[in-house]
């Protein structure tokens, strides 16, 4: 048979020091209760209400979650029964955070920690994390997660309020090591040679505010916290994947156009330029048909060697309705020096005219060479050249123009993601500047 008893709500007590009322919420678990009026820590489990400590009331800190707040969190109803501020000192500066003690009589204890608006939901770890290394850093593995060492510090309790299931003391110091793998943080606390582990999970203050129906808004978030999940986590990889997919799609699209391009020769003829005296060398070709739709490429191939020529060209419709004027310089120089053979420029040039209407066309060609430039050329001021006109040629230039545009988003994402991690680790023992400071 079940005894079926019901545990009465804990009666409050009167502070043995100042007589003030102390509310109790933790049933017989409570090993320390704080009198807020006179800043005394009392052991309510002793009949004479032993005063464990009296601390300086100048240290008072106001909790952002009031004691007695209740909320359903992770499927269980919890009540805030204790609050402490803990502080570490680094480079002469004090960094303080809040710890809220949550209690449920069936489920025990749990913590919320708060630093610069960043919250963690912390529970005791029962298994034994194993020490390892990750990326050259000290790390621990637990439950399949590898957390990198973030910070080693001496944490001092600097203010307490409410109740605790242990004998709490202001001024008590513990050695704390934090290991992170966002959103997780494994923390070890050492006191008297014993290590106790806890695991925190980064949580949004808004979720806590909603669960505990607290007034106003949670404290403003500043900076990046040790185990804060990166908003770019996974986005770097996916942005590169997107880049890869788009590039392949773009290349496939272009390949389609290349394979389906007509690329038809509509005109080709060879000419020779030979003129000892400067003058008008303009002439026109016989007419030819440019059928269908698309671009037109005009190719000039020369046999220039250490020489230079300029071509004034015009593609003109026979009916005079349309004409395209353009010019191209062709120059090719080569030789051999102490570094070996070299060459500069090219013997051929090409012009692409986008979207030329179908019709009957002819070319006007006006080649020009320079006597001074040709003076050193073996063949002098002469050249053989060929002009070819092609309809609907495939172009890969567009691919190379678009590629840099496609690569911008993944590069940008990678940069901001790295910057976020930089801010995270800037707060750790491994910050580049911080380690230099400590070496001094």
């Amino acid at each position: 048979m079940v005894e079926g008893n019901r545990i009465p709500a804990p009666a409050g007590l009167h502070c043995p020091n100042c007589g003030g009322n102390i509310e109790l919420r933790g049933f017989a678990h409570t090993k320390s209760a704080v009198c807020l009026q006179c800043c005394s820590i009392i052991d309510p489990s002793t009949p004479q209400l032993t005063i464990l400590q009296q601390f300086d009331e100048k240290m008072r800190v106001r909790p952002v979650m009031p004691l007695g707040s209740r909320g359903k969190w992770d499927g269980t109803l919890w009540e805030i029964i204790g609050f402490q501020q803990r502080t570490i000192y680094a480079d002469g500066l004090a960094y303080s955070w809040h710890e809220y003690l949550l209690f449920n009589p069936y489920r025990g204890f749990r913590y919320f920690t708060l630093y610069n608006g960043h919250w963690n939901d912390v529970q005791t770890v029962h298994g034994l994390p194993t020490f390892t290394t990750s990326g050259g850093k000290k790390a621990v593995t637990y439950n399949g997660a590898t957390c990198k060492h973030f910070q080693h510090a001496e944490a001092e309790t600097t203010f307490v309020m409410g109740e605790f299931p242990w004998a709490v003391r202001v001024g008590e110091r513990n050695t704390v090591d934090d290991y992170v793998a966002a959103p997780l943080m494994l923390s070890s606390e050492q006191s008297e040679g014993e290590i106790n582990w806890s695991q925190g999970t980064y949580v949004d203050g808004k979720a806590i505010w909603q669960a505990f129906q607290l007034q106003g808004a949670p404290p403003q978030v500043t900076g990046v916290y040790a185990n804060q999940p990166s908003p770019y986590a996974g986005k770097v990889r996916s942005s590169w994947n997107t880049f890869l997919v788009l590039s392949i799609a773009w290349a496939a699209l272009l390949a389609f156009f290349v394979f389906t391009a007509g690329d038809k020769q509509v005109f080709q003829k060879s000419f020779r330029y030979a003129e000892a005296t400067p003058g008008e060398h303009s002439f026109v070709t016989e007419p030819f048909d440019i059928p269908g739709k698309g671009n037109v490429e005009v190719l000039i191939r020369t046999d220039l060697e250490n020489n230079w020529a300029y071509f004034n060209l015009a593609l003109l419709r026979e009916d005079g309705a349309k004409g395209y004027d353009f010019g191209r310089e062709v120059s090719y120089y080569s030789g051999r020096d102490s570094d070996g053979s070299w060459s500069e420029g090219g013997k051929r040039e090409s012009v692409i005219l986008p979207a030329v209407d179908a019709g009957r066309y002819y070319l006007r060609i006006e080649p020009d060479m320079d006597p001074q430039a040709s003076a050193k050329a073996a063949s002098g001021m002469t050249m053989n050249y060929q002009v070819e006109v092609r309809r609907d040629v495939p172009r890969s230039l567009l691919f190379w123009l678009v590629l840099p545009l496609l690569i911008i988003p993944p590069i940008w994402t990678s940069i901001v993601a790295a910057a976020f991690e930089g801010k995270r680790w800037a707060e750790s023992d491994y910050a580049p500047t911080a380690s230099e400071d400590s070496d001094e």
């Binding site: 545990i7 029962h126 299931p165 014993e194």
Partner: protein
């Protein structure tokens, strides 16, 4: 399998819920009764346990590894930083185990007959690793334990207990072991930490306001 007998102190009928129980107390005269073969012997009087906040009580029932259990006894211990309960469980197959409740952190364990002889508590450094039943158990805590009192039926007598050492062993996967130096040679309990919900316990105490 209930067994009834008369209290050697006051003659009132004393019932054993569990056939293998060695110690119980008389609900009428509070005599501590130890069973020796078929006889019952009064070895002292039970002291009232201090109030505690455990939701578990004698008669509570639950399930562990698909076996139903009933809570038939309890030992209360203290250490430097608090107190805890070892609830004695009788399983549906008559085996017995322990459900420890330390500030509402729960673990179930069983006596493990190991071939190994354990070094004395004083020679056992933290960090020492034992290979037990295929896993590595590391000594993490050495605890000076004070026996406070008992309730209900136990598989052994506590009449010779006052202070003793335990060594707590942990694994990477939330199993644990306790080397209990209250006996000579020391005995080993192996078990694991569990979520309270998973025990699906019934007949629990209730809390005003919750």
């Amino acid at each position: 399998m209930r067994r009834s007998s008369d209290c050697p102190g006051c003659g009132a009928p004393v019932q054993f819920t569990w056939s293998s129980a060695v110690q119980t107390s008389c609900p009428f005269c509070k005599a501590v009764i130890v069973r020796k073969d078929v006889d019952l012997e009064k070895v002292g009087e039970v002291a009232d346990l201090p109030p505690d906040a455990s939701p578990i009580q004698i008669g509570s029932s639950g399930t562990f590894d698909n076996k139903n259990f009933t809570v038939i006894g309890r030992i209360r211990y203290e250490w430097a930083q608090g107190a805890w309960n070892e609830w004695h469980l009788m399983f549906s197959d008559s085996s017995s185990g322990w459900l420890s409740d330390a500030q509402a952190e729960y673990a179930v364990s069983f006596l493990y007959s190991a071939p190994e002889a354990y070094p004395p508590a004083g020679d056992l450094p933290r960090g020492r690793v034992f290979q037990i039943s295929g896993a590595q158990f590391m000594v993490t805590h050495l605890t000076q334990v004070k026996y406070v009192g008992f309730q209900g039926e136990l598989p052994f007598t506590t009449s010779d207990r006052s202070h003793f050492m335990t060594a707590d062993l942990r694994t990477t996967d939330a199993r644990f072991g306790t080397i209990d130096y209250s006996e000579e040679p020391p005995v080993l309990f192996l078990g694991r930490f569990i979520d309270f919900e998973s025990l699906k316990m019934q007949g629990l105490r209730e809390y005003e306001g919750w």
